[in-house]
């Protein structure tokens, strides 16, 4: 009986969350003069729907574990240094999920090398309470698809 109750509560809590995503459900605004909860800049940094994320391959899993270890154990100690959005570790996770471990690691190396010049070119966006330079994975693999 308690299990049934727990399952019902769980279903009640998770069902609406699945139907609603940050992109399609308001309130939203594109103007600073008419602020509501979800501004355009917030949408760019809003967490994506987990269902739309690429499923990692088996080969990618150990790398993702290592990155998760870095993010949860090492990251909090050395956090605040990265000026980019997403942060390099987050970028690495996204690129490995999207392209697999080999290309993902190469793209991570590229990201760590191009931070310096990218800060003169990338748009500045507000993430939480600080400004960061926007440089998502799509900014560095767009040419794979456009040619």
């Amino acid at each position: 009986m308690p299990i049934m109750f727990f399952l019902l509560v769980f279903l009640f809590l998770t069902a609406p969350a699945k139907a609603v995503s940050a992109e399609t459900w308001g309130p939203w605004s594109v103007s600073d003069n008419a602020p509501v909860l979800m501004m355009k800049a917030d949408r760019r940094t809003a967490p994506t729907d987990p269902a739309s994320r690429p499923v990692p391959s088996v080969a990618a899993t150990p790398f993702l574990w290592l990155l998760s270890f870095y993010q949860h154990v090492v990251g909090p100690v050395v956090s605040g240094r990265c000026n980019m959005h997403p942060t390099c570790s987050r970028y690495s996770v996204e690129s490995i999920r999207k392209h697999g471990p080999v290309i993902g690691i190469v793209m991570t190396a590229d990201r760590m090398m191009h931070e310096l010049d990218e800060q003169d070119l990338a748009p500045l966006i507000k993430v939480g309470n600080r400004y960061r330079y926007s440089d998502p994975v799509e900014n560095n693999d767009f040419w794979w698809y456009s040619q």
Binding site: V30, V36, D110, H114, N139
Partner: protein, 302 residues
């Protein structure tokens, strides 16, 4: 005491009736919604337009409200919702002015969504379906822009040149046709050459694509790891050498990817700057005229 209670009850009922008696006409409702639209508060404007539709579903302004809801989504960067709304309106009322406008804006929504091929198809269909419409010339310019955004500068120039000399948009179209001819002259960097240079000497490709910071980082990182790897093997520390080689292979491939990626980003940026410059110089936009209608306007920067 009883009399006081009856008096109070009577007063409350009377006041209640006075409040309920006031009804807001559709025109006032839509004016309020328009004021929110003008302020850029599209989310709240949609609610107010929906209110007009709910309270006055058969009023002529209900159609205006539906069009403006779609326009709010377009201006609010909710392009999928805008497309759905414009499409529904244009399919429902293809022979009405609001339906024609909605179809034009459907093309505009696809253009803003960067689905240029689809946008061009819609504007082509618009020209075929409504040959005498006042927005034909604007549709041609949009087709030209859709081609230009896809790099098809010859087709774009041809499309811009189709505008008749008596058209109010003829002058900007001529300028756009001339501008399109300059498309092949946009400065570009070869991704293959950048990658090749970096393969030979880490950092060289980055210098070629004008990214000196990346070049220094790439050269130092690769140099340090290659030197450490060689030293490790030289001193028979094969395990350390292997680990360093593993890391260095990542840096080395990352360096090549960095050069190729940088060249592609450079090309995208110069193309974007060229097109944005052209668009700023001969801007054709779709505006409200302040009296409930809409119009095509153009501005030229000298």
């Amino acid at each position: 005491m009883r009399n006081r209670f009856v008096l109070l009850l009577f007063l409350m009922l009377f006041c209640g009736r006075a409040v309920v008696a006031e009804e807001i006409p559709a025109q006032k409702m839509i004016s309020f919604a328009d004021s929110l639209f003008e302020k850029g508060d599209y989310y709240r404007a949609i609610t107010e337009y929906e209110r007009v539709i709910f309270f006055y579903p058969d009023h002529p302004l209900a159609l205006t409200a539906r069009f403006r809801i779609a326009h709010c989504y377009l201006k609010g960067d909710r392009l999928d919702q805008a497309i759905d709304r414009f499409r529904a309106l244009s399919m429902e009322l293809p022979q009405e002015e609001v339906g024609r406008r909605a179809y034009f804006m459907l093309g505009e929504a696809y253009y803003q969504k960067r689905e240029y091929s689809r946008a061009a198809d819609i504007f082509e269909t618009y020209i075929e379906t409504y040959p005498g419409d006042e927005r034909i010339d604007a549709a041609r310019i949009k087709i030209g822009w859709s081609h230009l955004r896809q790099g098809q500068w010859r087709q774009a120039a041809e499309e811009f040149q189709k505008l008749p000399p008596d058209s109010p948009l003829h002058a900007p179209a001529e300028g756009l046709a001339e501008g399109s001819e300059k498309y092949p002259g946009i400065p570009t960097k070869s991704p293959a050459l950048a990658g090749g240079l970096s393969a030979v000497l880490p950092g060289a490709g980055q210098l070629y694509i004008n990214r000196p910071g990346d070049a220094v980082v790439s050269f130092l990182l690769n140099g340090a790891f290659i030197w450490a790897t060689v030293e490790a093997f030289h001193h028979d520390n094969n395990v350390t050498g292997g680990i360093l080689l593993f890391f260095e292979s990542g840096w080395y491939l990352g360096n090549i990817y960095n050069a190729v990626n940088g060249a592609n980003k450079y090309n995208r940026r110069t193309e974007q700057q060229f097109l944005d410059g052209l668009q700023d110089k001969y801007r054709v936009s779709y505006l409200y005229d302040g009296h409930g209608g809409s119009m095509v306007a153009f501005t030229m920067r000298f």
